[in-house]
Amino acid sequence: MTTRAVEGWTLEPLKRFVGEASARLVLLMTPAGQVMAQHGFSRALDVMSAAALGTAIMASTAEIARQLGQPPFAAVTHQGERHGIFLAGVTTHRGAIVALVVYDLDVSSVGLVQLFFEQLRTELHAASPKTGVPKQVLAADFERQLSDSLDTLFGR
């Protein structure tokens, strides 16, 4: 299983998290769905779909929370028959990151993922560069940026 990052500072915390929590798939992305790092994906199409769906879920739950007059939910978990999905936000010096974690229920658990996610959150915050503002992706550059990111994420 490969772990790759577009933003280098996310790589080591992500690798540690994957090892400790026995996660099967992980995506770190911006709330707009730009992928920063991934673990376990083998196809670019899957990454793009998962990023779009993950950020959409986060946006939907944030809106539900807003309508309930609550602060945004800290995390969303879904347990299926064989896999679990965990979605949560992380605040870093480079802005908010959304993490999507998929784990097998026979090797991990929501408790284990939650436990090591707290460590990932702390490590990402500490590792994020305090200087330099992340580049805004303009519509005109979007396709090229996406293509570059996917090349990096899949080692092309």
Partner: protein, 105 residues
């Protein structure tokens, strides 16, 4: 369980999720971490026992340098966990854990 001399805390853990169901722990004990790791260990031990063909686990006693972890898996999928001092009366603590597991079902 926590009335047994030397028991520093006890908790009920959902084995499938690794989440705390109920706890009575001293302040310095991280219940959520203990629950997640104990459940993970229970799942792995369960597989090892199945592979060894020796049936389901009934009681574990993990002796550490500064204490012990005592665990009884209840049939409902809940783990009854106690953290104890090194000098705890293990026999008495085990009886209490088994009693608690029976109550939990």
């Amino acid at each position: 369980m926590t009335r047994v001399r030397g028991v520093r805390g006890a908790l009920l853990v959902s084995t499938a999720d690794g989440l705390v169901v109920a706890e009575q722990l001293m302040e310095d004990v991280k219940g959520a971490a203990l629950a997640a790791l104990a459940a993970s260990l229970a799942n792995r031990l369960g597989r090892a026992m199945t592979a060894a063909g020796i049936g389901a686990s009934v009681f574990w006693h993990l002796q550490c340098s500064e204490g012990a972890l005592l665990v009884v898996p209840a049939p409902s999928g809940v783990l009854v966990v106690a953290i104890a001092e090194p000098e705890v009366n293990v026999g008495l603590a085990r009886l209490e854990l088994l009693r608690a597991a029976e109550l939990v079902g």
